[in-house]
């Protein structure tokens, strides 16, 4: 069966050009970048070249980039790094951050820090005035994601960063989902710390980066040989870093063609789905959303069975339903934008990538209505069954 991958927010295929530059670093130039000999120098030089490419994607200087094992570690280092340096204080973040930020904040709360979780509106937007009024003298960092990984909402981080900067508070942005899809210039945008992850932009898994503006002081969370200016010790993952560097270079180069292409596909996907399927809704913002994100909810069906059914038709997608999560709780993002649990369970995320074709889209637009219809036929919540109406009513009241 032909397979169609529409889960690019979860991870992406490694680009062929990325593979090519990476490969020699496994078996030919395999040195440890800390070594003095020629193998070590090759590794070191390749790493510094990659660092430059990562920096260029976001308008930073090379020496403001440290490599990490992924987006999660970058988020952890940024927030804990500042917190441990300051020793106490308040963190401001939003209620729709990725768990890499949210769970880090919760861990810091358990250690005695205070955290303010800002609400979002029904489109998933953080309101800059909320940031303004939340900030206090004890605020040590403001961390707001650039774009949300579930509903794709792009936040007004430039405004928020301005507030932070005017108040002398470091501003961190999780740009794991936005990098390569929304342009980023850390200098113009006044960003102090920014997280990236390679595997979301056609680079290899297990690599990420943290931008740390010159002068911003943080403590490490992993201790050891002093790699990455002492902020992230461990023998550097050179093939991964080289691949990530190339992925950043390609992301920058291709953005001008990728973005309009993705937007065209996305809008077709959104419009046709809302048209074809009754009681279907779009989650997130209509315009301030990632070029590749379509996030729906369908009345009376449950997300896990929806994505399992799509999988049966060869379509890879994702849901915010509790049934697909380890904690059996519906997506905190969907709850934060004001959906009730039943609505959250009926969600579907399709995230596009540069290799998706219009033909693939047509296939999805055929398959999706069929799948939704079948599940609604099985569902006691769908229309006719009056005995069940009481549940729906109860739900709607909440």
């Amino acid at each position: 069966m032909k397979r169609i991958y529409m889960d690019h927010a979860a991870t992406t295929q490694v680009d062929q050009e990325v593979m090519e530059v990476m490969l020699p670093y496994f078996t030919t130039y395999y040195g440890n970048a800390s070594s003095f000999h020629s193998y070590g120098r090759e590794a070191h030089d390749a790493m510094e070249d990659a660092r430059k490419k990562v920096a260029e994607l976001i308008g930073a200087e090379s020496d403001e980039i440290i490599f990490t094992a992924g987006g999660t570690e970058a988020d952890n280092i940024a927030i804990k790094g500042v917190a441990y340096k300051k020793e106490k204080g308040t963190i401001i973040t939003s209620s729709i951050e990725h768990p890499a930020v949210l769970e880090t904040c919760r861990a810091l709360e358990r250690e005695g820090f205070n955290v303010t979780y800002l609400p979002v509106d029904r489109f998933g937007m953080v309101q800059p005035p909320d940031v303004e009024s939340a900030k206090k003298d004890e605020t040590i960092i403001i961390s707001i994601m650039h774009a949300n990984n579930e509903i794709g909402t792009v936040q007004p981080i430039k405004e928020i960063a301005k507030i932070a900067s005017e108040n002398g508070i470091p501003f961190h942005a999780d740009a794991v989902q936005s990098a390569g899809k929304v342009s980023i210039d850390v200098k113009r945008m006044n960003i102090d710390l920014l997280s990236l992850s390679s595997h979301k932009i056609y680079g290899p898994k297990g690599v990420g980066a943290l931008y740390i503006k010159k002068g911003v002081k943080i403590n490490p969370i992993i201790h050891g040989g002093g790699h990455e200016r002492g902020l992230r010790s461990s023998t550097e993952n050179i093939p991964g870093i080289v691949g990530f560097g190339k992925a950043c270079e390609l992301a920058k180069k291709r953005m001008d063609t990728d973005v309009p292409y993705l937007i065209k596909l996305r809008d077709k996907l959104i419009n046709n789905t809302l048209d074809k399927i009754e009681e279907s809704y779009l989650n997130g913002h209509s315009t301030k959303r990632l070029p590749n994100n379509a996030h729906f909810r369908f009345t009376a069906i449950e997300g896990e069975s929806l994505i399992m059914s799509l999988d049966d038709k060869g379509i890879a997608a994702s849901t915010g339903s509790a049934c697909s999560s380890k904690k059996l709780e519906p997506s905190h993002v969907l709850m934060a934008i004001g959906l009730n649990e039943v609505e959250a369970h009926g969600s579907l995320r399709l995230t596009l990538g540069r290799e998706n074709t219009d033909e693939e889209l047509e296939y999805v637009l055929e398959a999706l209505p069929e799948v939704v219809e079948r599940l609604r036929e099985i569902s006691p919540l769908w229309k006719k069954d009056l005995e069940i109406e009481k549940w729906r009513k109860e739900m709607e009241k909440r």
Binding site: E302, E304, S305, M308, C323, E341, V342, H345, P380, I388
Partner: protein, 122 residues
């Protein structure tokens, strides 16, 4: 994570739908948790002549619903009341641990439908 049997029944559930002139109906679960099942029964003497279901929920919920209808159909009411959640899970070659308690409600749904039948008969 799911057994072949779960996936097969999820894909092709047996006895899906309502029974128009049913003798009992039971609804269990809570859509807040992502699972809601309705089991319909038609009784002939002391036997379950027909058992059908409608389910909102994950693949496990749909498969267990389908499985309970197959297990119960043709059984006496007494026999049907003996069917447990574990029987259902076992017949499905197991369920992921995390799903054992939330999506494995079908036996409860059957029992609720039988209660409903008994109540109506009184």
């Amino acid at each position: 994570m799911y057994s072949e049997k779960v996936i097969e029944l999820f894909r092709n559930p047996r006895n899906m739908g309502e029974i128009e002139n049913r003798d009992g109906v039971g609804t269990v679960g809570n859509p807040i948790c992502g699972d809601l099942m309705t089991i319909y029964i038609k009784v002939d003497g002391d036997r379950l002549k027909d058992v059908k279901f409608k389910t909102f929920g994950c693949a496990a919920a749909i498969a267990t619903s389908s499985m309970i209808t197959e297990l119960a159909k043709g059984k006496t009411i007494e026999e049907a009341l003996q069917i447990t959640r574990d029987d259902v899970a076992e017949e499905l070659d197991g369920l992921p641990p995390i799903k054992m308690h939330c999506s494995n409600l079908a036996a409860d749904g059957l029992h609720a439908a039988i209660e409903d039948y008994k109540r109506k008969k009184e």
